[in-house]
Structures are given as C-alpha cells and as structure tokens.
Symmetry: none
Subunit: 210 residues, 4 copies
C-alpha cells in the first residue's frame, strides 16, 4: 500500500503510540473534510467552517496539514493511492483478459462508491490539479492508473474480446462512465456496485458475461 503524505507534514510524532493516534485522527479529518468539500465546494468552505463542522479548532487543522491545499492533496492521495495499489495487485494476479478487465472495473467502481466524496472533490478541483508542482504526485497516479487501464484494454483487444475498433476511445468512454458514477450513486440504490461495473464492462466487451 502506497502511503504518501502529500508534502511536508506539520509535526508527525515519533513515538509509536502517539503516531498511531495522530495518523488515525489525520485520516479522520481527510475523510470528513472530503465530505464537507464535496457538498459545499472546496473553494466555498473556509477553514473556520470546516473546523466547526469537524468539531475541532481551526488551529488544530494545522497540526495535521501545513495548509488548506495540502488537505486537498491528502484527499486526492487518499483517492488515488489505494486504488492504484489494488489495481497493481490485481494486475499481478495474472487473470485472463476479459476477466481481468471485469475484475478491474469492479474494483474501480467499488472504490468510486466508497470514495464518492473524494472523487467529487477531485473533479471539482481538476483544473488546479493539472497545474502546480505539489500536484505532481496526484497527476502521476492518475496517469499510472490510466496507463494500467489501457494495458488491460489492450490485452482484451488482443484477445479479441473488445467490441470497438478504437481502444483509445473505449478508454475515454470507460473513464467517463465510471467516474461519472460518483455523481449519481447512492448506497442502497437499485444497483450494486458490482452490477454497475458489469453493466459498464458489458458495453465494451463482445460476449456479455452471465
């Protein structure tokens, strides 16, 4: 599992017990901040409002993040790192092309629905992420994931499983539909994440599974 802290962390304790508590609290702030930002918007949420909503003091936020933007970086890291880690693990599992694609999309959709808020924030602030040095890590992760995904699609194509002649367009379409899921998915809705993922894959592959 990749663990990156999106830049210098204010003062992470060294003693294990304290460090664990610190890490837990920090992760909690990231999680809940993502929720607040997703609803109110990153730019429209002040550190004061955020602190109030989290039930902590403004100054405390600066114990965990050097600044507001680093909090945003942490949210995006929390979005990309586990996904990329899991996807790489899957990639090494050696599944056959069509199953491999299906497994990856299932994993991906599963991640999208559990990190809906993170993704919504990521999409809001996409323009900022595309520029700026501190975003290099997030950008690299995004590109790595897309490349991995393209590789899986290429293998599926090579195996004759893809319906479309244009693999690049299929990649874009897949990115669009999966990421868009964050906009409408509600837990306990009509479709399970797996059903959603399968529906997407079925659009791309020749012989619908099931």
């Amino acid at each position: 599992m990749i663990v990156r802290y999106g830049g210098r962390v204010a003062t992470r304790p060294t003693r294990p017990a304290l460090r664990d508590r610190y890490d837990r609290r920090r992760a909690d702030v990231v999680e809940r901040a993502a929720h607040v930002f997703a609803r109110r918007g990153y730019g429209r949420t002040s550190m004061q409002q955020l602190a109030e909503e989290l039930g902590i003091a403004v100054g405390s936020l600066y114990h965990y993040f050097p600044g507001k933007e680093q909090l945003l970086v942490a949210i995006c890291d929390e979005l990309m790192d586990p996904l990329l880690g899991d996807a790489r693990a899957l990639d090494g599992a050696g599944l056959a092309p069509p199953e491999q694609l299906r497994a990856l999309v299932r994993l991906w959709v599963g991640h999208v629905v559990t990190h809906r808020d993170h993704l919504l924030v990521f999409q809001q602030e996409r323009h900022a992420i595309e520029r700026g040095a501190q975003w290099r890590g997030v950008r690299a992760d995004r590109k790595a994931f897309e490349r991995l995904l393209e590789g899986v699609l290429a293998e599926a194509e090579a195996a004759g499983a893809l319906r479309t002649a244009d693999r690049r367009l299929a990649l874009s379409a897949l990115l669009g539909m999966v990421n868009h899921t964050a906009q409408w998915y509600r837990p306990g809705g009509r479709l399970t994440p797996e059903a959603i993922a399968d529906g997407y894959v079925d659009l791309l592959v020749r012989a619908p599974a099931r």
Copy 2:
C-alpha cells in the same frame, strides 16, 4: 430557441442599435470568461484577473452581470439553452429510433466540443448548481435534457436496438462518456466529433452502423 439571461440584467439598453452591441459584447464576455474560468478555475479567478484578461475594466463587467455568480449562470445558460433547443428540434423531426439516438449524440458531442470551456466550468461548479435558487433554471434545463435523452433511449429499446437490458444505467454511462469528452478533446485531434459520437453510440446499440 430559449433565450434566458440568467436573472436580472443590469440595464439592458432599449434602443435596438445599442442593444445589439450590448448583446454582442455580453455574449463575448460570457464566451471568453468561460475560457478563463475553465483554465484557472472559477473560484481562483478574481474579477480583477478576469477583467484584465478580457482587456476591459472591472467595473465594466458589472454593466453586463449583476455579480460574479450571475456570470457563472450566464455561462451555464449558454451551455444548456442551445443544446436543449437543438435537441428539442431534433426530437420533433421524427427520425426512427436508432438514427434518432445517433443524431442526438452527434448533436450533443458537437455541442460539447464547441462548448468545452462552458462544460468544464459547469462540472467544476456542479456542487453550487445543485443548490441555490438562482440555479433553478440551469437545473431544470439539465433535467429536461436528461429526460429527453432517456426518452430517446426508451424508444431505441422499444425498437430492440439497445444492447443493454438496463436503460437507466445506459443513460448514466452515456452521460458520463459524452460529458467526459470535454476533458480530453482537442480540435484537430485524431477523431472528429462525429466519429467520437458514433463510437459512443456503437457501444450502446446492437448493430453498429457504417
């Protein structure tokens, strides 16, 4: 064609000659502001910066829009109104289901690539649009378009042209892939807007055209 001005306009001239010039300049500001906001971000672009980029004075912006948010509304109106207008016109043209869907997606993708900036801004500020009274019109347009699209998909399904059993999911997938096009499309790129649209439709319908 729906023409709405996103709320009260700050003293639109009544004399035709002046009004035309006013309308032209206003539309120009909307167009170019969309471009600036798409790149820099709406929240991260100050009215000062925008004015400078447009080559006009800050105060002049307030001749055309009562405030920064109304400029955002105007951008979204400019995005939705022509699309919805054209889509409705097409809807009344009486095409057969599969051609109707293809024609609609072509029109839609064509609109997306000519209004890339508007759409990118719209996606950035989606969270703001979902709340607030002044966004009611934009929200209504978006919903109207989705409903129209769903109707077309339903007709295609009734005609047995749809590959998927889940029309609702197909709708979401289509929304995702088409709107995502704004993120990567570059004029003069490998694929024409028509080819992109056809690629998307081919994923959904049973018998690929061409």
Copy 3:
C-alpha cells in the same frame, strides 16, 4: 438677496433666455436633491440613484454641478443665503428689541419649515462642513447668522426683556430648539410656524406677548 453658486459652475449659459432656464433647472435639482438626501442620506445616495429619482441622466447632473460635493454646497447655500439675506433686511428695519427678536425667530422658523430638507442635510453633514476649504462660505454664513442673532439677543437683554442672565446659553438654547424643529415639523400639523416661533420666544423673554 445673496446669490452664490458654491464654487465654479460647469458651464452657465450667457444668453439670458438660456441662462434663466438653466438657473431654473439647477434650482429645481437643488430642491429635489435636498429632499432625496434628507431621506436616504447624502452618503448613501449615489449619483445614479439621485439621477433616477430626479428623472434625468447621470451626466446631466454634471452640467449643473462640478461634483457631488458641490451639489451639497449648493443645498447649504440655498439654506443659508436667503435666511441671512432676510435676517439682515430685518435687522435694518429698526424694530424695538423684543419685537425684533420675535420677528427674527418667526422669520427663521418660517425658513426652517420651508427648508426642512436642506436643514436636515446640513445637520447630517455638519462634520464635513466644519472642515474643508470649499465650505468656507457656508461656515461664514452660519457664523454671520449666529452673530446677528446674538446681537438681537444682546439688545433684548439691554432692554431688560430677557429672562435669563446667561445670554450665551440662551443663544445656544435657541439655536438648538429652532433647528431641531426640522426633525419633527410636519406641514398642516397642530401648530403654525408662527405659533412655534412664538412659543420659543416666550421661553426666553420676560413678558410673553399676545
């Protein structure tokens, strides 16, 4: 009658016919601007609001006054000049002390009730008038009037008509009560301006008239 124009006037016509129309319109603007300022406040009324309320264009205001503050000067001149002129005329009429005081206060109160708006504006902006070179004329008028008033009180005192031993305090009290009249007087109210004036004078002089 003193006629001063409170500083350089933008472009007063020279041909008599035009000049008369100009003067009439200018006086009308002064009159009505006083009314608007009295209600909304000078500082809280923009030239745009004022122009709209007067039914003329913003630019037109600048035909009659070089700036907003000169309009304020004109209002104060319109308040002080006729009052001082009439008071001086009365002073030269050679009335006996007690009658002279009564006549002056009647004249004064009469002026206050017909220039209520001007006086309210004057009181609002008193702090501005006490400083600044352009206000020298208005300040001089105010002082001249107070001195004239004090002279009349002194004569009354010399004639044994004053109830109080402290003429300076009586002067202040008189200034306070008469000017305060602008705050509560309504045309057609219970008391006529003459009755009000007499009431004030009766407080000061030994043997109430009538």
Copy 4:
C-alpha cells in the same frame, strides 16, 4: 441596567476571563470609534482608516462587530442604554415635580457631555436610524426616553410649575436645546454641565431655582 449588544455578536467567548477581556476591548472600540466617526463622519471613515486610528488590524474589528453598521448600532446603544437606565431609576425615586425635572435634565446633560461623540454620530446618522429593522432597538429607546421626559413635564405642568401652556412644544424645545449641547460643549468651558442643565430648566419652569 439594560445591556444589549446591537444584534448578534461575532463569537463572544464563554470563559469568564476571556469574556471580560473581550467585553473591555469591545467597549473600548465603541468608545474610540465614536470619537473618530464624530470627527470624520461615519460614512467618510473607512474601516481601514478606523482600524489604523485604533491601532488594530481591520480583521480584528470583525471579531467584535459583524459589520460596520453594527458598530454604529453599538455606539447608539451605548448612548441610549445607560441614559434610559439612569432616567428610569430616577423616575422611580419619587421626587417632587420641579425637582424631578431638574434632576432629570441634569442627568441628561451630564450624559450628553460625557457621550458627546456618540450623540454627534447619532445625529449624523439619524436618517438611517429612522428606517431599517436593525435600528428597532435604538428607535424604541429613543421613544421610551421621550415618553419618560414627557411624563415628567406633564407632572410639572400639573403642579403648575411650567411656564408654557404648550407642553408638547416645551418637550421639543427641551430635546432641541439639550441635544444641541453636544455641538458646542467643551470640557472645562465656561459653564459646568449642571449650570447648563439649570439654565435650560429655568427657561421652562415658573420659578427659577437658586
């Protein structure tokens, strides 16, 4: 004693020690702001200028007042609340009519000279105070004080102590002369506040005291 804070206060501390310091600083700002506004004018003093004059940062002003107008409200509250409180206490002391009036005017004049700046600001912004919901409290206080004063005058009249037949006019005159005192009084001047108050009362009552 009435203690009102002119609308919502921006996060008043709850811990007693901090709250006391907060209250002290806030009162200090009110006091000194009244002085600055009295001299420069409320509308002509920017928050920047005020902060500079007070030796604090602009943002700090917003710790104590939600906005510029609330600071004005606080100044007026500071003017009216103690006066009304003291006047009511006196009213309940059960003095005989002529002494009661004299005591009230002494108290009032004493308050005027110690709150000269507050009163000057109040008079400047009277037009704003007469309208608007946030001024309801100040307006109510002013009316309550006038009613109390009228009651005292009525008792004096009933006791045959009043010189004038028109009690309402006497009330207006008294309001005018006392409030006008703020315009000219200087500490250490020729007359003490008591002498001034007695001078005013002597104009109204039949048998001058002393």
